[in-house]
């Protein structure tokens, strides 16, 4: 016989809209993170321009463009690079809106926060556009801050393009081919796998809690819960790391991670390299001309 408290009552649940708790918002963010990771392979499999390139070539592209972006001083040329990344996203069958949102909402936002002081008269004196005492916004300050933000967004866009259009496994193979030490590549591979695995654990833990909650709980309770789960995940990740190492030892691991992957470049890849170098040269030339004026 089951205890009386386990009998099903006849009270109907009252449904009323409520604000999402911190724990709920965390669970939703984790769900999104997991689906983003899993969706990445689907995006990287689309028949787009950058998906067809050798991953090593794409990594080389990142480096070339990153160097170019760091040498560019003109805001207009930087905006041109941002436009090029958006065009490449479209040619690679990515949603330009989603791509731009990701770039500006993450890298752009943080760069804006960091560069805001540079827009003030305190750091960059000049003609005042908005008078706020020592924190007045100046015209050269705004230009400087806009250049910093755009530079970060341009770099982040290039990086995001490579990550989105390349399967994680191919990216790791490319790193191996580019002579990045085996242990570094293996650590990256395991880290990504463990992140997915731990995200799923945390997601399930949040869902299990939510399924037994009648109210969203106080903010203090939710903060405590989220912090406690973070500690739990940290402990679990250490245990998992030990188990994975045991699994490696059991299969003869002795410190090296040899691989059989052999990547091959095609004419398309070399055409891309040539186009990339030419574009960077044109951008640097244009930057010199604009700055000289």
């Amino acid at each position: 016989m089951i205890p009386a408290l386990q009998h099903i009552g006849d009270a109907s649940p009252r449904v009323r809209p409520r604000r999402r708790s911190l724990a709920r918002r965390t669970a939703l963010a984790i769900q999104r993170a997991v689906s983003d990771v899993l969706e990445n392979d689907e995006v990287a499999s689309r028949p787009g321009l950058m998906q067809r390139l050798d991953p090593r070539v794409k990594l080389a592209t990142i480096l070339t463009f990153a160097v170019t972006v760091s040498f560019v001083h003109s805001l207009w040329v930087l905006l041109g690079i941002v436009a090029i990344t958006a065009a490449l996203a479209a040619a690679s069958k990515l949603s330009v809106i989603t791509f731009s949102q990701r770039v500006w909402a993450s890298a752009g936002f943080f760069a804006l926060m960091l560069s805001l002081p540079a827009a003030t008269a305190w750091i960059t004196p000049g003609e005042v556009l908005v008078a706020l005492g020592p924190l007045s916004i100046t015209e050269p300050g705004i230009y400087l801050a806009a250049r910093l933000v755009t530079r970060v967004a341009a770099g982040a866009g290039i990086g995001l393009l490579v990550v989105w259009t390349t399967r994680w496994t191919d990216l790791l193979h490319a790193l191996t081919a580019l002579r990045v030490p085996d242990l570094v590549v293996a650590t990256l591979a395991m880290t990504q796998k463990q992140i997915v695995s731990l995200l799923r654990t945390v997601e399930n833990t949040h869902l299990a809690r939510e399924s037994r909650m009648l109210s969203s709980g106080s903010a203090k309770e939710n903060r405590g819960w989220v912090t406690e789960r973070m500690a739990f995940v940290a402990r679990k990740s250490m245990k998992t790391a030990d188990d994975v190492y045991d699994a490696m030892l059991a299969r003869g691991f002795s410190g090296a991670m040899p691989s059989l992957v052999r990547l091959q470049t095609t004419a398309r890849d070399w055409a891309w390299v040539a186009a990339g170098i030419a574009t960077c040269a044109i951008l640097l030339g244009a930057d010199r001309m604009v700055v000289a004026r």
């Binding site: 496994t169 591979a189 188990d243 699994a247 299969r251 691989s259 059989l260």
Partner: protein, 272 residues
Amino acid sequence: MSAASEFVLSGVRHEYRAGSAALCGIDLVIETGQHVAIAGANGSGKSTLLKMLAGLVFPSAGTITACGHPLTEDALEDPAFRREFRSRVGFVFQDADVQLFCNTAFDELAFGPLQLGLSETDVRARVATVAEQLRIVPLLDRAPYTLSGGEKKRVAIASVLTMDPSVLLLDEPTNALDPRSQVWLLDVLEEWKAAGKTVVIATHDLSIAAESADRMVVLSEEHTTAADGTPDEVLAQRELLLEVNLIHEHSHRHESGTHGHPHGHGQVHTHV
């Protein structure tokens, strides 16, 4: 103990923390070619015992020998012994997620043979053969975290088989497997038996022990050996199985009325 003994354990004790024993006074001899099921309730020490046989955990007291050689941490520091031992003894972990740490399923299958120093041609040939045997060819290009539970288990087993071990240690192999995959696993175990491989399975699933093993060792909740015999002999000792928490008294109703009998995980019973 005969010349063909694969493992010999004498007075083995293991403590993860001082005063908290995971195994107590285990004496066990496993002969080459035997199929042994180590059964016991959760926390009885099955996984620890299996890890000891795999040279991953070492006794706090007592000794283990593998094929006549002492199996110690120091012995495994010797590259020649380590290579010989790791190529001979394969371990399939309970949690396939732990075992699959490479980029793709292909890399998983190639990892062991590459560690053994085989040539690229040999490694590719082994991967192709085992992938075909376990019907995982379509999975080879996929990242392990995108696989289902059953697929992960197949890849985990395949990743060990490519090393062509003569001893296979499997920790709770039927965990997370659907019924079709469980039947598939039993077929694989039969093939290994026919091939003369030594197999040691840690399980609390009595049906897999009864169907696949020719010897059954039961660990008690006190972490000692409670029984050792053929599956028929051990499974006939219902009082013992109740005591070690492998079966429980279960009552249910038929048209003729309610009755009770011992019932264990994965155990099929008949009514007269």
